[in-house]
């Protein structure tokens, strides 16, 4: 599929993939797609950063290459590695035949045939459907050396392999980088990207998301859930519930055949919404009841 030609089309594209996005996000994404620069998404956990890349690959019908970052991620698992076993066999064969000179063997051993490609190198390969979507997930989990390594890739879309030379992409991949901000990413890297902070959605937007993502939940229940979660986000909690948690909660309550929120079912299912024991202890019981009363009063007021 071709890339969208305007912000409007980008917005529609995401909507087709069941991703309800703010127009601001569509703008940033459109810029990144049309100017062929990575999109750098930051935000709390569970606001749908990773999802954007998945939706993009689905709706554009492109291959999705995902690189999950972790501390100590190195070139061997992110970029490429040589197939040592094959190389050994090759040397052994050359020895057995005995008619090959050293330079030829060296050229042969370090050729693409013996290269195991990892996501970053794969992303540079030309594909029939067009360049792939490259998702570099949770970049903040790696260390600075890897971040520095990415600079060459992200600005010129090329990778240097000492034994072979420089491999560059004919058409750059669509790169989405996400970060949970557990540490600050260096400005040099951010400068090469378009930046977007993914915030918690507004109540209307969240309701829209919920109707798309959890269609089986009764409408009244969804309304209650959204209001409840929005109120929770105003409370001083260690980890505020993200959109992912809202969806999980709606699904859990639907599975339990609830038609409306009640204090007991909130207490029973709070674990899908809050992930820290302190937070759960704070909300469980009277606090949950208080919020629920507020929510119900508001909804009754809105209905009149």
């Amino acid at each position: 599929m071709d890339l969208p030609q305007s912000v409007q089309e980008t917005h529609a594209l995401l909507a087709r993939g069941n991703y309800i996005a703010e127009r601001s996000l569509a703008t940033a994404l459109y810029l990144s797609l049309s100017m062929k620069r990575p999109l750098f998404l930051e935000g709390e956990a569970g606001v749908g950063k990773t999802e954007i890349a998945k939706v993009l690959s689905e709706t554009l019908d492109r291959r999705l290459l995902r690189l999950q970052c972790y501390e100590g991620l190195d070139a061997a698992s992110a970029v490429y590695e040589w197939n040592y076993a094959l190389q050994m066999v090759e040397i052994r064969m050359a020895e057995a035949v005995g008619d090959r000179n050293r330079a030829a063997l060296e050229n042969d051993i370090f050729s693409k045939r013996f290269l195991i490609e990892r996501p970053l190198l794969q992303a540079l390969e030309p594909l029939a459907d067009g360049p792939p979507v490259l998702l570099i997930d949770e970049l903040d989990r790696t260390d600075e050396p890897f971040e520095a390594y990415l600079l060459e890739l992200l600005s010129d879309f090329q990778i240097t392999i000492p034994e072979i030379g420089t491999i560059s992409a004919d058409e750059p991949p669509l790169v989405i980088i996400t970060s949970n901000r557990t540490r600050e990413i260096h400005d040099a890297l951010k400068r090469r990207c378009f930046y977007y902070w993914v915030d918690y959605p507004t109540a209307e937007r969240e309701l829209e998301i919920l109707t798309t993502k959890a269609p089986n939940a009764p409408t009244d229940l969804s309304r209650q859930i959204v209001r409840f979660v929005q109120k929770l986000r105003d409370i001083d909690l260690f980890k505020l519930p993200g959109v992912a948690e809202t969806i999980d909660w709606a699904e859990a309550l639907t599975q339990l055949d609830k038609l409306a929120l009640d204090p007991d079912s909130i207490n029973d299912t709070l674990g899908t919404l809050l992930k820290y024991q302190d937070d759960i202890a704070k909300i469980q019981g009277s606090e949950a009841g208080r919020i629920l009363n507020e929510v119900n009063a508001e909804l009754a007021g809105a209905a009149e």
């Binding site: 127009r23 601001s24 930051e42 051993i109």
Partner: protein, 408 residues
């Protein structure tokens, strides 16, 4: 600018350039490269709607969360009427610079010392009453005596000598192994890549096995220092220590707390101690006030712990444990802090008294969660700290069981 401006008049391009300059003046790092990017981006997305225009510039100029607010304000003021912003800046800037520069027109103590030779201490003595920026222009002192002397009882010259000694202190925290490798002839694993390359060197006739080992790295260090009234003298001395440590290694984060928490990491990175201390003094508003340990820890846990405690950080908690809120909320927050770091070390100047008893509510609340409890009142205790940090073995030190017993 005209070279890159769109063909339909360069007005918008020029305005984007001016907007970029306004942002730079406001503190967002915007260079010419970003301005060019912005112009190109606006050409791409079009300027039909103000909203899209806003988010286009936002995507280019903003690169951290805290810049969003600045950008928002600047955008609304500038694109309504660029002149307003200019006028506001011209109104604001002179008064800013007046305030900021005139009192500091005075020579840096270091420069003063360089010019004045030996008379400087008299001038400096006055400064010391009010400012935390004092510097050494002293003779070498008998370090052994100095090492035993309590920071609180030091004379002016001794304080300066101590500063000098601290400046050379290093903190050898035990390195932790990473998942990266380096060549090591005696390493436990075989480095296949190097082996293959070495094999090629003689045509593959022999394959010499080359080895590798894990690379190790210093863990991040987070220092939290109490600057309340009771800690005053110590904090002023220790800030020199923090400065020395910050400039010696990477990934050191420093927080000062009294009634609220302030992150001073950025200021302490300044190589010149005078400038660093000046910046710290400007940013911290609660020197020598009360202490609210619980609420400061809560702030830290909520806003900073997830950003600075990753990758196995060691925390140095410097406080006398005297809490205005009588230990309110301290236990929960300490529990969380302990759970998110690799090691938690408490440095307490009150430990200089042999008969120190962990009886105050603040101390009782803190003690169960720390892995090491050490004095920090003179130079020798700082030196010993280095050994303590280098210790391997179980997380909590052996003395901790005794301390916990006494606190219970």
């Amino acid at each position: 600018m005209t070279a890159t401006a769109p063909s339909d008049g360069g007005l918008i391009a020029a305005n984007i350039m001016h907007f970029g300059r306004a942002l730079r003046a406001a503190g967002i790092p915007v260079g010419p490269g970003r301005v060019l990017d912005a112009i190109r981006a606006v050409q791409t997305s079009g300027v039909e709607s103000r909203n899209d225009f806003y988010w286009t510039l936002h995507a280019v100029f903003v690169s951290r969360r805290d810049e969003r607010e600045l950008f928002d304000q600047a955008f609304h003021v500038f694109w309504r009427n660029p002149k307003i912003l200019e006028r506001m800046m011209s109104l604001v800037l002179p008064s800013f610079s007046d305030e900021a520069t005139t009192p500091k027109e005075t020579l840096s103590p270091r420069v003063a010392a360089a010019f004045a030779g030996t008379d400087t201490p008299q001038i400096e003595e006055k400064d010391q009453e009010t400012e935390i920026t004092f510097d050494a222009a002293m003779s070498w002192s008998r370090t052994e005596l100095l090492g035993e002397k309590d920071f609180e009882k030091m004379t002016t010259e001794e304080v300066e000598a101590a500063h000098r000694a601290i400046r050379h202190m290093r903190l050898p925290i035990e390195d932790i192994p990473t998942r990266r490798f380096q060549r090591d002839p005696a390493g436990p694993a075989i480095d296949m890549r190097a082996t293959m390359r070495a094999a090629m060197r003689d045509g593959g006739a022999t394959i010499p096995l080359l080895r590798r080992d894990r690379r190790s790295r210093r863990p991040p260090l987070v220092i939290m220092c109490d600057i309340s009234g009771s800690m005053d003298r110590y904090a002023r001395m220790l800030i020199h220590f923090m400065h020395a440590v910050t400039n010696d290694r990477d990934r050191v984060y420093t927080f000062l707390f009294g009634t609220h928490l302030t992150n001073v990491t950025r200021y302490l990175r300044n190589k010149d101690i005078d400038i660093a201390l000046e910046r710290v003094a400007d940013s911290v508003t609660d020197w020598s006030g009360g202490t609210r340990i619980g609420s400061c820890l809560h702030d830290f846990n909520k806003h900073w712990s997830r950003r600075v405690l990753g990758q196995g950080a060691v925390v140095l908690f410097i406080s006398d444990g005297l809490d205005r809120d009588a230990g309110d909320g301290v236990s929960q927050e300490m529990h969380r802090l302990r759970g998110s770091c690799r090691r938690l070390i408490w440095l307490n100047p009150l430990l200089r008294y042999d008969r120190f008893e962990p009886k105050s509510l603040g101390v009782k609340a803190l003690l169960p969660f720390v892995d090491d409890f050490r004095p920090v009142h003179n130079l020798n205790s700082l030196t010993e700290l280095a050994d303590a940090l280098n210790r391997t073995g179980p997380r909590a030190s052996a003395e901790m069981t005794v301390w916990r017993g006494r606190a219970a």
